[in-house]
């Protein structure tokens, strides 16, 4: 029966193996939980996660909704992209903004980024998860993104207050994921834990996945602030004394609220060029994110509070 089969041809490449493992995890969540949701951040990792999810249930539709926490300060191009993808793929998309934060007029220019992120992202996310009574929430986080994530589980347990306790995580062995929770508790699921940034880009290339144009270099108006290049995305931008926007060829390695997302100078205008840049990369990915630099270990503090 095996005479005509070349075993070498059956070996999975790194990307095929990552894809299969992620699909297995996504399917496992649907089998184990009653009410999952996917956190959709519009970024490249979310785009890959969405693609993997479509694959996991093909030809059926994705059997759970997507949730986007909208701080109202995302790049306008992100919101256009989100709405276009949702309508093209016929997705069930929930968007939520923290109404209290909105009423208070919070913005990333006036408020300290820690406070702003807590109210507009962390608290907003908790509100939306509570409202939907979701018992599992998918995220596109990867272990290679940031040091504190190296030890994160694929199934990450959160208590009734959505808090993460690094001392009370379940051991995770083989491909067996313990998704049992009591009422009010939940699991954050990271199907792409073992992907690296380079894997993500290569997969986007191979699969032809649509991502926001901001990932590719173009002439954009930016100001240099505290060593970071911040894009002037709309007229809400608060210039400081002496600041004027200048046009530079930049792209983004990660996307979030535009005043908090630093651009990198680049000429990589296609997926292939981005990959080529990656292969030569000398600076790590989250560098452009202002929030990570607040204090040493700040990502971990945020995670304990329930940030994704």
């Amino acid at each position: 029966m095996l005479a005509d089969v070349d075993p070498a041809g059956l070996r999975l490449t790194n990307l095929e193996q990552l894809e299969s493992e992620s699909i297995h995890i996504i399917r496992e969540v649907v089998a184990q939980f009653s009410s999952p949701v996917m956190l959709y951040s519009i970024g490249k990792d979310s785009s890959v996660l969405l693609h993997l999810t479509r694959k996991a249930f093909f030809p059926a539709k994705i059997p759970f909704p997507l949730l986007h926490i909208d701080t109202t300060w995302k790049f306008s191009e992100m919101i256009e992209f989100r709405d276009r993808i949702a309508s093209e793929l016929g997705l069930e998309l929930i968007t939520h903004t923290n109404p209290e934060g909105l009423d208070m007029g919070l913005n990333p220019f006036d408020q300290h980024s820690t406070y702003y992120t807590d109210v507009m992202k962390t608290q907003a996310l908790k509100q939306a998860l509570d409202a939907g009574e979701f018992d599992a929430a998918f995220g596109g986080a990867r272990r290679d993104e940031e040091k504190s994530r190296a030890k994160e589980r694929v199934f990450s347990f959160r208590d009734r207050h959505h808090r993460w306790d690094p001392r009370n995580q379940r051991p995770e062995l083989w491909n067996l994921f313990n998704g049992r929770v009591n009422k009010g508790e939940s699991i954050r699921v990271f199907p792409m834990s073992n992907w690296t940034e380079l894997d993500v880009w290569q997969y986007i290339h191979i699969e032809g996945i649509d991502v926001v144009g901001l990932y590719f270099a173009a002439q954009r108006p930016v100001v240099k602030r505290d060593g970071a290049l911040i894009m002037v995305d709309d007229d809400r931008f608060r210039f400081e004394a002496g600041e004027t926007p200048e046009m530079r060829s930049v792209r983004f390695r990660t996307l979030g609220c535009y005043p908090l997302s630093g651009a990198v100078q680049s000429t990589a205008a296609t997926v292939l060029e981005v990959i080529a840049e990656q292969l030569n990369a000398t600076r790590s990915e989250r560098e452009g994110r202002v929030i990570d630099h607040d204090s040493s270990g700040s990502m971990e503090d945020k995670k304990r509070e329930g940030y994704f």
Binding site: M1, L2, V5, P7, L10, R11, L12, T13, N14, Q17, L18, S20, I23, H24, R27, A31, K55, F57, F58, P59, A60, K61, R143, D144, K147, S148, R149, A150, K151, P166, R167, Q169, R170, P171, E172, L173, W174, N175, L176, N178, R180, N194, T196, D199, I206, E207, Q265, T267, L272, E273, A276, E277, L279, N280, T282, R283, S284, S296, G297, E300
Partner: protein, 643 residues
């Protein structure tokens, strides 16, 4: 930012294409690093990351700010510090869990499972090892092989890792001594003899200075083997994949609402192609694979590790947890399993613990019924134990409320593993590797064994002997009169020209069951052997008469199932225990009451009174001959006797 980061747009094109192409075809290798606190494990990983250019500039910048003036090595960074992740751990100066690190070369991408080296680490190492293809065990060249090394080797082998690199580190501190290196290798080989099937590569190294990690060392000119990186890049990781037996455990049933019905899961072993015959287990219903459906189009073939969706040519009932297999002798099935358990909870495990067993096929309520022995992970020795503590390894008996389909762990890591989950707080408390079905009743013969068929037909034998084969099980308390009735029955049948074989429990114990005692499992095994002999006897057209206590109703039911219910007659010799005691000329009741004989049914052990017997006989009111006649009448009425 370095100069090469800004890319000359005119210089890219075909060059990038081929580079990207190369990277997209890389394989993934997962490995585990184990070493004690001072073996230089974190330094090694830091070195691998650094030398493969994975240490980014800004991480380095952060480091030099954090550690102003690190001294010592040629690197102005502390490679070990780079490996730490969580803030609280960093403050304590220890890592307490498994951390995963990623780096890659043009040939492979690597996932490193880094586990701590301190005392309480079995749980973490088992976790890291569970998904690893290979283990790198570090030994400090100054210390040689220690207790920790033995532990690492034991857990590596327990978790089924067959490729090991023993990296003898800090060679710089022993003046790159070849003889010392060879001595350490010899010590390791001597110890690892007991772990069969492990392929070990010994390597002298200095992680701190980078000798033999990525780059070859001029200090170790006497060693001509590949460096660690060369070994990791080239070691064959697919050679132990079973391509012969297709197995897939169904995760979800996919329906699109328009008539599509596919079975989603990950191929655990073997290959599958459209047109292949598959059997659904446990139902045993066969069908053919119609399509291997994926988002990117149907596949012609799928192999191990691939997540697929299969459609079948027939509408058969299949749900989550069912298996699709090419060979119906796969998987094994049992209610009771022997498994090696790594205990991961502060509360010790005791016999009788109720929990949830989660395996590839789903979850089942389970009891850990017994602890067979605990393993001293430093020596591999087995010791009796009443409980199993955190980080202990023990062989346990697991009883499932629902029959489990499984493979032994050594056959398939994916389908031979499970976790135990606490029912109250949902914690993952243990990790298990299935050894075999606990009870010999459940054990499946080697699939290569095929019985031969007789050239004589059953009807021919039936005409010759004037009977149809059956088994009469005569059960009851000691001294109830079972053997006497069996003998009388044998005589009666003989006189009528019938052919029977008498299998008396005590006679059997003089021979084929000479190795058995009188505990419940041993009584069960004695009945199993008698039942198996009765089956052979029945197949030859003869009537089997089995007379033994057979105190356990569940075991009697298994005998009935083995011999098929319509050929099985259960006779309960219901003699009052007082009468038995009087008849007992060997004084066994008295001895049991004095505590001299343990597990004596009716006195110090339970005798399950039959409730669904075919015949009940009370020898206090009937003679053995009358009893035998009653059995013969029943056999005649059931059509087993002709004329």
């Amino acid at each position: 930012m370095t100069a090469d980061q800004s890319i000359d747009r005119s210089g890219i094109s075909t060059c990038i294409d081929s580079l990207v192409e190369t990277f997209e075809h890389r394989e993934l290798l997962r490995f585990l690093t184990c070493g004690s606190v001072d073996d230089g494990k974190s330094t090694l990983i830091g070195r691998l990351l650094h030398d493969t250019k994975r240490v980014y500039e800004d991480q380095l910048a952060e480091l030099s700010a954090h550690h102003s003036g690190v001294q010592g090595s040629d690197l102005q960074v502390d490679l070990a510090w780079l490996m730490d992740g969580l803030k609280s751990e960093r403050e304590q100066g220890i890592t307490i869990d498994v951390a995963y690190r990623y780096f890659s070369t043009a040939r492979r991408k690597f996932v490193v499972a880094d586990t701590p080296g301190h005392e309480q680490y079995t749980r973490n190492m088992a976790t890291g090892a569970s998904n690893s293809d290979l283990a790198v065990i570090l030994i400090d060249a100054q210390q040689g092989m220690g207790v920790q090394t033995k532990r690492h080797m034991y857990i590596t082998s327990l978790l089924g890792i067959t490729r090991v690199v023993v990296a003898v580190n800090k060679m710089d501190l022993i003046d790159w001594s070849e003889s010392r290196f060879k001595q350490i290798c010899a010590d390791c080989r001597e110890f690892s003899k007991r772990h069969a099937c492990v392929e070990t590569y010994f390597l002298p190294m200095s992680a701190l200075h980078g000798d033999n990690v990525v780059h070859r060392s001029s200090n170790l000119g006497w060693f001509d083997g590949p460096t660690l990186m060369e070994h990791l890049e080239t070691v064959d990781i697919a050679d132990d994949v079973d391509l012969r037996h297709f197995r897939l455990v169904v995760q979800n049933v996919i329906r699109d609402g328009q008539g599509f019905r596919g079975f989603a899961g990950t191929v655990a072993s073997g290959i599958v192609r459209p047109g292949d015959t598959v059997v659904a287990v446990p139902s045993g219903i066969g069908s053919n694979v119609e399509r291997i459906v994926t988002f990117n189009g149907d596949l012609d073939i799928a192999g191990p590790g691939r997540a697929v969706t299969l459609t079948l040519t027939d509408e058969i009932d299949i749900g989550r947890g069912d298996w699709l297999v090419s060979d119906p002798t796969v998987p094994l099935r049992a209610h009771k399993l022997d498994a090696d358990l790594v205990w991961m909870n502060e509360n010790p495990l005791k016999g009788g613990y109720r929990c949830i067993l989660q395996s590839e096929g789903g979850s089942t309520n389970t009891t850990v019924t017994a602890i067979r022995h605990r393993v001293d992970i430093n020596t591999g020795d087995e010791q009796p134990a009443a409980s199993v503590g955190l980080n202990d390894v023990a062989r346990c008996v697991i009883a499932l409320d629902k029959e489990l389909m499984f493979d032994p762990y050594r056959v398939n890591r994916r389908t031979g593993s499970f976790i135990l989950v606490d029912r109250l707080n949902n914690a993952t408390v243990g990790a298990g590797m299935i050894v075999a079905a606990s009870s010999p009743w459940d054990r499946t013969p080697e699939p290569t064994l095929i019985g031969t068929t007789s050239g004589i037909e059953g009807w021919e034998r039936s005409i010759r002997y004037g009977q149809k084969p059956c088994t009469v099980l005569i059960t009851g308390l000691t001294a109830a009169g079972k053997s006497t009735i069996a003998t009388a029955l044998e005589r009666e049948l003989f006189d009528r020209g019938k052919v029977s074989v008498r299998l008396d429990g005590e006679n059997v114990r003089l021979g084929i069951s000479r190795d058995l005692g009188f505990s419940n499992p041993e009584r069960s095994e004695n009945l199993r052997r008698i039942a198996e002999v009765a089956r052979l006897v029945n197949n030859q057209g003869l009537i089997a008469i089995a007379a033994l206590v057979a105190p356990d109703a569940e075991v009697r039911a298994r005998a009935r199932a083995l011999l098929t219910p319509d050929r099985f007659v259960e006779v309960f010799v219901d003699t009052p225990i007082e009468v038995c005691r009087v008849r007992d000329d060997k004084g066994m009741y008295a001895a049991a009451e004095r505590g001299e004989i343990t597990s004596f049914p009716g006195v110090s052990a339970v005798y399950d009174r039959p409730t669904e017997m075919d015949l009940r006989l009370d020898t206090s009111v009937r003679s053995p001959q009358q009893c035998a006649a009653a059995i013969v009448d029943l056999l005649a009425a059931r059509g087993f006797l002709r004329g």
